[in-house]
Symmetry: C2
Subunit: 676 residues, 2 copies
Amino acid sequence: MAVSREGETESSHLAQTVEETTRPTFAESQKNTFDQFSQTLQTQRRNWVLNVPEPPGLFSKLKTIFSPLENKLHCIGKQPLPALISILKTIFPPLSWCKQYNVTKFKSDILAGLTLASLCIPQSIGYATLAKLDPQYGLYTSVIPPLIYSIMGSSRDIAIGPVAVVSLLLSSMIQKFEDPAVNPAAYTKLVLTVTFFAGTFQAAFGLLRLGFLVDFLSHAAIVGFMAGAACVIGLQQLKSLLGLSKFTNNTDIISVLTSISKSMHTWNPFSFMIGSSFFIFILFTKYYLARKHKKLFLLSAMAPLLSVILSTLIVFLTRADKHGVKIVKHITGGLNPTSIHDLQFNSPHTAEAAKIGLIVALIALTEAIAVGRSFATMKGYRLDGNKEMLAMGVMNITGSLTSCYVATGSFSRTAVNFSAGCETAVSNIVMAVTVLISLEFFTRLLYFTPIAILASVILAALPGLINLSEAKYIWKVDKMDFLTCTAAFFGVVFVSVEIGLLLAVGISFAKVILNSIQPGTEKLGRLPGSDLFGDVNQYPMAMKIPGILIVRVKSALLCFANADFIRAKILDLALEEQNEDAIESAEDRVQLVILDMSNLLNIDTTSIASLEELHSELESNGMKLALANPRWHVIHKLRLAKFVKKIEGRVFLTIGEAIEACFTSKNMHASSLTVV
Amino acid sequence: MAVSREGETESSHLAQTVEETTRPTFAESQKNTFDQFSQTLQTQRRNWVLNVPEPPGLFSKLKTIFSPLENKLHCIGKQPLPALISILKTIFPPLSWCKQYNVTKFKSDILAGLTLASLCIPQSIGYATLAKLDPQYGLYTSVIPPLIYSIMGSSRDIAIGPVAVVSLLLSSMIQKFEDPAVNPAAYTKLVLTVTFFAGTFQAAFGLLRLGFLVDFLSHAAIVGFMAGAACVIGLQQLKSLLGLSKFTNNTDIISVLTSISKSMHTWNPFSFMIGSSFFIFILFTKYYLARKHKKLFLLSAMAPLLSVILSTLIVFLTRADKHGVKIVKHITGGLNPTSIHDLQFNSPHTAEAAKIGLIVALIALTEAIAVGRSFATMKGYRLDGNKEMLAMGVMNITGSLTSCYVATGSFSRTAVNFSAGCETAVSNIVMAVTVLISLEFFTRLLYFTPIAILASVILAALPGLINLSEAKYIWKVDKMDFLTCTAAFFGVVFVSVEIGLLLAVGISFAKVILNSIQPGTEKLGRLPGSDLFGDVNQYPMAMKIPGILIVRVKSALLCFANADFIRAKILDLALEEQNEDAIESAEDRVQLVILDMSNLLNIDTTSIASLEELHSELESNGMKLALANPRWHVIHKLRLAKFVKKIEGRVFLTIGEAIEACFTSKNMHASSLTVV
C-alpha cells in the first residue's frame, strides 16, 4: 500500500549503514539486516507511543464547545455585512426559505393551519383545565408562542402550544405552594412566573450551548415517563368525565382511585354519557376511519372540534347543566392581556418557582426536540438543538409576559400538522391567527360546553403518548434500559411525576457509573490467520499464545473504584495460568503478562499505584508486565508517574510487537545460555 | 507465524475449486484466485464479528463475584477433611505460619510488642479523650481487638487499636445526638452501639465479598481527607494544650479559632509549657535523633511514654494541678468489663447509630487496608481484602461487647511495629498483654498525668497523616485527582468531616461520569508502514486516507447522555471533510465514514437511535457508514436492533478491512462504468 513507503526508504538507508559497518557473509548479513531493520522499526514505533505530544487539558476541552460562537464573532470583525446576514439567518431561520416561498406552499400551509386550529382549540381549553387554569389561558398559549416560534424556530412541522405532560407537571408541582381552588389569582401568577423562569432557562441553555442537558433523559426514560404521565393524566380526567366534585390533589394511582371510590356516589351519569360517547366517536374517527380511508383524515382531525360543537349544542338544547352536567361557563374573550405585573420575583415561592421552571424547561425541551427531530429526519433537514432551545426560550419568555403558560411542541398536533401537508412554520401562524379570531368572537359560544367533553378530548390524545412497541423493542435490545423505562413509569404512576423523573435520571446515571467502572477483565487470544487479538469468549476461535497472558480491562477507566479489583483479578489469572502451564511443561510457564490498554481512556493516581503493585507482585512471581497500545492521556500520566521506567519501558504499540519483543529477549537469553 | 497456517490450507483448497470452474490464462487465474481468497477470508472474518455467541447477562456477572465461595462449598462435599483444613486456614491465617514459628521470631515479636505498647498506652488515652470517652476506653480498645485480629487477620505488621481519625469521626458525629458533657453514660452507650454496627457492617462486607466498597474513596481523596483530619485533630488539641475550659463542639477551623480567641483569657501557661516542651521533645527524637542515629529508634518510640512519666512526675512533685494544670485524675483500672447491656437497639438514635457505623466502618477499613497492604507489598506477601474485612468486623463486634470502641490499623504504630522488627501478629498479642497488665496495676500512677501531655502525644503523631509529597505527585500526574484531594481537605477543615468525605466521593464519581460520557470524537489516520490506525493528534505522523473518514468515539459508552452530541459531531466532521475535499478533487470526496467501535464497551437504545439517524443523514449526503471492530455487547445489541441490516452489513473486524471492502466496491463500480 502507498502509505507504507516512507518507512521502507528509511529502512533501506538503515540497511546500508548496517552493511557498511559489519560485512559478514551474504546470508548472514541479510539476516542481520532484516533483524536490525525490524528492531529499528520497533524502536521507532515505541518512540511513537512514548513520545506523544502533551494531551489537551481541561480548559481546551471546554473551549471547543464555544468555538463556533467564537468563529462567528471573528467573522464579524473581518466581513461585517455577510457575517451579519448569516447571523440574522441563524436567529431567524425563515429568512433562508422565504425566497422560495410561493402560493402553492401557502395554500398547503393554510389548510394545515386550519386543521391544526380545529384540533388545537378544544385541546388548549382541556390542557388549561388540566393545568388548573382558566380555559382562556390555554387559548392564549396557542397564540403568542406559535407566532414567536414561527419566526425563530427552524422546524417546519412542529405544532406549538400547550401540551398535556407540561400542564400536568405544572399543576402537580405548583399546587403544593398555592392552591388553585383557594386562591386562583395567586396560582395563576405563580404559573406565569414559572413560565418566565422556564423560558429564561431554555434561552440560557441555547445561548450557552448546553443542548446536551436535554439528553440527560434517555430514550428509555422518556418512553416510560410519557406512558406514566399518560396514565396519570387519564386518571385525572376521570373527575371531569364522571362529573365528580371532590377530588384529590395527588396524582398517584392509589390516591386517585381511593378518592374516586370515596366520592363515586356523587357521579353524574349525564356527564359520563356525553363524555364517553364522544370519546368513542373521536377514537373511532382517529383509529378506524382515518386508517381505513386516507381521505377521511380531515374528519379525524376535526372530530374533537365537532364533538365540542355537537355536545355544546346538545347541552344548550336540553339544558343538561340543570341536571348536574358541569359546563365551561364564561371564557374571557379578547386578545392576550399583558401579564408583566403578574410575574413575582419577591414572593416567598420564587426559589421554588425557579426550580419548577428548570424541571419544566427540560421536560418541555425534551418533548419539543424529540418531536421536532423525528419529523426533520423524515423530511431530510437538520435541526440545531441549541438554536431550537433559544427559540423556545424566547417564545416562553414572551408568553409569560402575555398571559401564556409554558408552550412546547405537541406530539399529537405535530403529527396532524405533518399529515395535513404543512410546508413551513406558516401553518403555525395560520393556526395562531385562527385561535386569535376565535378568542375575539367565539368564546361566548363555548358557554354551554360540557367539561366532560374536554376530558374526552384529552383522553383521546393520550394513546399517542404510550408507545408499547418501543417498550417491547427496548426490552428486546437492552434489559437495563428497560429497567429505567419501567422505573420511570411506575415512579410516575405510583408516586409522583417528580419521583418518576428522578428515578429515571438516577438509574440512567447509575448505569453509566456501573458500566464504566465494572471491574471486568477479558483474556485475549490471536485470531487465526491474522495479527489481531480478540476476547476469547467473543471469538471462540482465538488462540492462546504459550507463555504469555494477554489481558484487557473491560472498562474505559482504571480508577479508584475498580483498579484494585482489576489488579487482584489479573494477578489471580496470571497465577492460575502459571499453575496450569506448570503441569503441562515448565518451558511454557507464563512469563509475560501483556495488558492491552487500547480501550482505557483515562487512569488516575489510585490506578497507577495499583499498576505499580501489580508490577511488583508479578515480578516476585517471575513474570513481567508489558503494556500495549496505551492511549494519549494514559501514556502521558504513566510517563509523568515514572511508571514506564519502572517496567523498563515495556510499552508497545501493538500486542504483536510486545510478543515479538518478548520472544526476542527469550531467544537471546536461550542463545546466551547455549554459548556459555 | 505458526498460527496463520489454518487459514492458508483452507485458501489453497479454495484456489483449486476456483481454478477448476473457470480456467482462464495463468496470470488471470492467479489474480482471480488471490482476489477470491482474500474475499473469502474477509467474509470469514466478518462472520466472526457478526455471529458472536450471546454475551453473558447481568446475573452471570454477579455470579462470578461469589464463585470462589461456591468452589469452596463444592470442595467440602468432595473431600471433607482437606477442605475443612483449608477453610480453617482461611479463617485463622496464623495456622499457616505457626509451624514455622520459632524462638528467634518470638524474641523479635516480644521486642516489637513492648515498643508498640510503650507508644500505644499514651496514644490510646489521648485518642479516648479525642473521642470524648473516659481514658480507660482507649486502653480497653488496645486489648481485645488486637487479640482477636492476631488470630484472624492476615497482616503480620499492622498494629491494631484506636486511631485518631476514627476517634475524631465518632465524637464529631455522635455528639450531635448525645452531648458527652451532659450525659457521658448515654454518650458512651451510643459509641458502643456505633462500634457494634461498624463491626457488623465490616463483617458483612467481608462475607458478601464487597471489598470493593473500600475503593470508593480514591487515593487522592484519602490523602486530602487524612491531611484535613490531621489539621482538625490538631486544632482540637489546642484546647488541652492551652488548658482552656470552654470550647466549641464544631470541628471546622473558623468555629475553633473563634472559640479559642473568645476563651483565650482563661488559658493556663503551665499547661502550655509542659505540653509544648514535651511536644518538642517527642518531635526531636522522632524526626531528628531517630533519623540521624538508627540505634536511637527505640528512644523515639518510647519518647511518648517517657514524656508521660516525666510530666506526671513533674506535676506530682510541683502539684501544678493546684495552679490550674488539668490532670487525668481517676482512671478505672482492671480488665475490660462486659458491655453487652450497653448496646441500644431500641433507642431513638439507633438508625443514626447504624448510619454513623457505616461511615466509620468504611473509613476504618480504608485506613486499615491501606496501611496493611503497603507493608504487605514491602515484605512481599498478599492481603485478601475480604478476609481482612471479616477479621476487622469480628474484632469490632467483640470489642463492642467488651467496652471497646472502633479499632483499626494505625498508620503511626504500624510503622513503629515494622521498624521494631516484628515478625508476626504475635507482637500485637504482646502489646495487648502489656496494656492489660498496665490496666490492672498501673492506672493509679496516671492520676497526675497532665491532659496537655496527651495533646502533645496526639499532635506528634499528626505529621504522619499529612503527606505533602503525595499531594505534589497527584498535582503533577492528575489535575482532576488533585481537585478531589483539595476538596476533601478544605471540606474537612472548613465545614465538617462528613462534608469533606461527601465532597471527595461526589467529585470522584462525577469525574467517572464525565470521563465516561464525554462527547469527544477523534479522527484516525494510518500509521506509516503499518496496518494500524491511531488518533491523528496523538500520533502526528498518522496519515489520512483520501475519500474515507475514520472516526473513533472518545468514550466507553455511547449512551443517552452523549449519543446525540457525538452523532452531530461526526456528521459535522464528515460534511467538513467533504467540503474540503471537494475543493481539492471531486474524486476524493468522502464517501465512507468508518466508525471504529473498538473502545465502545456498551451502547443503549438511545444511542442505537442516534446511529440510525447518523446513517440516514450520511446517506442523504452521499456517504456510507461502516463499523469496525464492535465489541461483544455492542454487536449483539446492534444485531437485535436490526441496525446491521440497515447499513447492509458493513461491519468489519478491522478498519483495514473496511477500507479494503470499500475500495473493492469502488473499483468494481469504476470498471463497470468503463465497460459500459
